[in-house]
């Protein structure tokens, strides 16, 4: 207990010393090698919890023979509950059917992300950081069950076997379930070390154990934040300032208070909250508010103007993020310089569950129910805002209806909004903050708008000798608690990742960056695959342009520059092979067919995708098929990996086709799924996923399926039409250019 609190306090002290607003989360920068994992915290210390055998913080075995795995990571669709349970059950030799999963509370001492030294889920790290830790948790429990059986049966532990949740001694014919042994096992000393299985003996890892959340989510019984009900709880709906940075000048709430059922109207930092017993009443009250906004420090920018400014900035050198050789000099020497500008809009995450949060405030502290993605950061931010000690902030992690990064807000935005409301009513009753879809769409924290300018020159053989990549846009990390870890010499690693890590062998390769936070005041945040959402696009489209200029096959061209990057080459070859690259596409009576490819590494996983399209005479097109190859090390659950690739492809395709948040005079022009259109089933291509067999440590799969899709699509459209699209979303550019 003391050990845990000490751990947390140390982390906090470090955080505050750095002068950041919240806790400094020690993050392993994208692309950096893994920190050593070891057993990690949370393993030592057996105990009984409510009569269950709890060999460590990640596992409880009940006398009813249930095995409960405690997930330190948020299940937001990526399959992590299933993945972590697979790791524990594998080493425990449990029967998959007896395994249940529940979310861990906020407790950085026991449940930290081993790559972060704080508790949270993101960066596709969940399985990667837990791989050994969870296996060890299972193996430890197994050893204790075996010891207990050996003692009871008076036989050597070495003669005992465990299979599918049954402990047996063949010679004596004795058998016992985990449940039967749980009480005795709880009294066994925790072994100092355990041996993990040889991968050849795996029966669950690599075998696609069925998802643990399927039943609950198929029957409507899964509990999301939206579903939390507490006695006396009120729902809060907020009228937010229409422009970022706006505040309330005055409010006339007579009409709102006149709505039958409205109990409270309270002014908070960026708006006015109306409370009622149900959402509809609260919303009616909210809609009846008359608010005069103080816009003295509100942001009035427009997307068009931002882009125009970025275009000017892109003419001048930025801060250097990578410098191999001297690209400018090589370009100056070259006979012909190829040049392209790429533009990317703001993007909303638009998770299916609009943001929400439930909070109970009382004399003892604050208790929160949330699709909790950044436990430690949120815990400290709430403690600070509510003048509590971090341990007085209890976070209950429930299922998140998607996140794509949004629920890991470094400013804890919607949690602090809930806290302000709870505080304003003095904690009289619990509060559920519910954002409407419009609130969610207009609430900011978007993938930033970026402009890239890339220039290159080719040698006599058509291979690039110079590559100058300039990126202009807001930093996601600047001003957040992550800044000390991820911003070095003015360069936010997440702004350039994917470009600064371009794998192709090019002798003169420069990447530079203009960060625009001083002038552009739009709240921005990581969005599924972060920097690679834009760097993957510009790099992989421009490489394709160079291959075309050189008259080379796009796959062969890339492979020729990937000799030092076998895993990139591996997925590229596999995807090309499975897609029938090089063989003509079946002709279509409906229009021109085309095929395009892209390969990209993100979060230490490697993905290549081949996209096939049909472009009709009117410029409308269909995406027919996507063939995807992924190398994410050991495939813990191949079916979940496939699902993540399918989903990543769908998510990326939505953005590529039509995703854009645009600002006009500081107002967000989109509001709901009518004007921020997302992918629907009729637009979903056939998807084939191939997983590279690997013995390397497992790496992430939640995000890496996203980056290759858009460039491969644009390259396919080029193959079909000869038109090269360089600004996203694609929209109607084929019709109009």
């Amino acid at each position: 207990m003391n050990f845990r609190i000490e751990n947390v306090l140390q982390t906090s002290r470090r955080g505050f010393l750095k002068g950041s607003a919240g806790l400094a989360l020690a993050v392993v920068a994208p692309g950096m090698a893994h920190a050593g994992t070891g057993a990690g915290p949370g393993i030592a210390g057996s105990s009984m919890v409510d009569g269950d055998f709890s060999p460590n913080a990640f596992l409880r075995i009940g006398t009813d023979n249930s095995v409960t795995v405690v997930s330190k990571h948020l299940e937001m669709g990526q399959g992590v509950y299933t993945g972590l349970a697979t790791l524990v059950a594998e080493e425990l030799d449990a029967d998959w059917a007896q395994v249940k999963v529940e979310g861990a509370p906020a407790d950085a001492g026991r449940y930290s992300n081993l790559f972060w030294k704080a508790q949270g889920t993101g960066g596709s790290t969940a399985i990667a950081n837990s791989f050994e830790q969870m296996r060890r948790a299972g193996a430890t429990a197994r050893a204790m069950l075996v010891s207990a059986a050996a003692a009871q049966w008076k036989v050597p532990a070495s003669q005992i076997t465990v299979k599918s949740g049954v402990v047996s001694h063949a010679a004596s014919g004795r058998k016992a379930t985990f449940g039967e042994l749980s009480e005795a096992a709880a009294k066994v000393a925790v072994p100092a070390d355990v041996t993990l299985k040889d991968p050849k003996d795996f029966t669950l890892i690599g075998h696609s154990a069925p998802r643990k959340d399927s039943l609950a989510k198929t029957t409507g019984r899964a509990t999301f934040t939206q579903d939390i009900k507490l006695p006396g709880m009120l729902t809060a709906v907020v009228a937010h300032a229409p422009r970022f940075g706006g505040k309330v000048k005055s409010v006339d709430d007579k009409a709102a208070r006149a709505v039958a059922g409205v109990t409270d109207v309270v002014t908070i930092d960026n708006g006015v909250a109306v409370l009622a017993r149900d959402y509809w009443t609260a919303k009616k009250g909210r809609d009846a508010l008359k608010i005069v906004w103080d816009e003295s420090s509100a942001y009035h920018g427009s997307s068009d103007a931002i882009l125009a400014d970025y275009r000017e900035l892109a003419k001048t050198p930025g801060l250097v993020a990578r410098k191999d050789g001297d690209a400018e000099a090589a370009l100056a020497r070259a006979g012909k310089v190829y040049e392209a500008e790429f533009a990317f809009p703001f993007l909303a995450h638009a998770s299916m569950e609009p943001l929400n949060c439930v909070m109970k405030l009382d004399a003892d502290g604050c208790e929160v129910w949330n699709g909790e993605q950044l436990h430690t950061g949120d815990q400290y931010a709430l403690a600070k805002a509510l003048s509590l000690k971090p341990e007085q902030v209890k976070l209950n992690m429930v299922y998140a209806g998607g996140s794509f990064g949004r629920r890991a807000n470094p400013q804890s935005d919607y949690l602090l909004e809930t806290a302000q409301i709870a505080k304003a009513i003095k904690g009289r009753v619990p509060v559920k903050l519910v954002w409407s879809r419009e609130d969610d769409m207009r609430g900011g924290y978007y993938r930033p708008l970026y402009l890239h300018r890339v220039r290159a020159a080719l040698d006599a053989k058509g291979m690039p000798v110079a590559w100058q990549h300039r990126i202009v846009g807001q930093s996601i990390i600047a001003g957040s608690p992550f800044e000390p870890m991820l911003v070095k010499d003015g360069i936010d690693a997440t702004s350039v990742e994917g470009a600064s890590t371009l794998p192709y062998a090019i002798p003169n390769l420069n990447v530079d960056l203009h960060t625009t936070n001083a002038t552009v005041k739009v709240p921005v945040q990581w969005w599924r695959s972060v920097g690679s959402t834009h760097t993957g696009f510009s790099s992989e489209v421009f490489i394709d342009e160079l291959a075309a200029a050189a008259g080379k096959d796009p796959v062969a061209y890339r492979l020729a520059m990937l000799a030092k990057h076998p895993r990139h080459a591996g997925v590229l070859k596999l995807a090309a092979d499975k897609a029938g690259w090089g063989k003509p596409l079946a002709a279509s009576a409906d229009g021109k067919r085309g095929r395009g490819v892209a390969v990209h590494e993100s979060f230490n996983s490697f993905v290549a995708e081949v996209v096939e399209v049909t472009v009709h005479k009117d410029g409308e097109f269909t995406v027919d098929r996507v063939v995807c190859a992924v190398d994410c090390g050991v495939a813990v659950n191949p079916d979940v990996i496939k699902a993540q690739m399918e989903g990543g492809i769908g998510y990326a395709l939505a953005a590529a086709l039509s995703g854009a948040i645009t600002l006009k005079d500081g107002l967000v022009e989109q509001s709901n799924f009518n004007d921020y259109t997302v992918l629907r089933i009729n637009q979903m291509p056939k998807v084939e996923v191939h997983i590279v067999k690997s013995a390397a440590k497992p790496t992430g799969v939640g995000e890496p399926g996203v980056p290759p899709l858009a460039p491969a699509l644009v390259n396919a459209l080029h193959a079909a039409t000869g038109k090269r699209i360089r600004a996203l979303p694609i929209g109607e550019q084929l019709q109009t250019t």
Binding site: T218, Y279, R437, A654, N672, R680, I681, M684, K686
Partner: protein
């Protein structure tokens, strides 16, 4: 006070008659399976059956369902079609975050109740009102075909 029939039981809801069925179910009857996604009939997360028809509960006022039969995800498995749909969903591990899936299952069940062997176009038409941001569409299509007893993909 509005009286309606939810999952075979007559219930009285003490909310104004203009309250959408979605919020009557969730906040009035404490039935959480039906989800709020957009409130504008754009996403399908709130899909229920009203007298067997797939209906967006977020834009259906309580007054419009007075005396009608409402079926929600909580009881869809009571019908043979609904049970087969849910089973196919589980067999194929369709769900990711799961938030859209109540609505997907309600739409799929309404489709198969009317069209037991749907074409891909039928599936598109019936399901394109249901957004899944996790992109589970590949599996939704497969699961519908499986529930219908059809092969995983069109031979064509």
């Amino acid at each position: 006070m509005t009286t309606l029939n939810v999952n075979g039981r007559d219930v009285a809801v003490d909310l104004p008659a203009d309250t959408p069925l979605l919020w009557a179910l969730r906040d009035g009857l404490h039935m959480n399976g039906t989800k709020f996604g957009c409130g504008m009939s754009l996403c399908g997360a709130c899909t229920v059956h009203v007298d067997g028809q797939a209906t967006r509960a977020c834009v259906t006022p309580l007054s419009a369902v007075a005396g009608k039969k409402v079926t929600t995800i909580e009881a869809v498995g009571d019908s043979d079609v609904g049970r087969r749909v849910q089973q196919a969903w589980i067999d194929l591990d369709v769900v990711q975050c799961g938030y859209c899936q109540s609505g997907q299952i309600m739409s799929a069940t309404a489709l198969l109740a009317k069209t037991p062997r749907p074409s891909d176009e039928d599936i598109d038409a019936a399901m394109s009102g249901n957004i899944c941001r996790c992109g589970t569409y590949v599996r939704i299509r497969k699961a519908i075909r499986q529930a219908a007893g059809m092969p995983a993909e069109d031979a064509a």
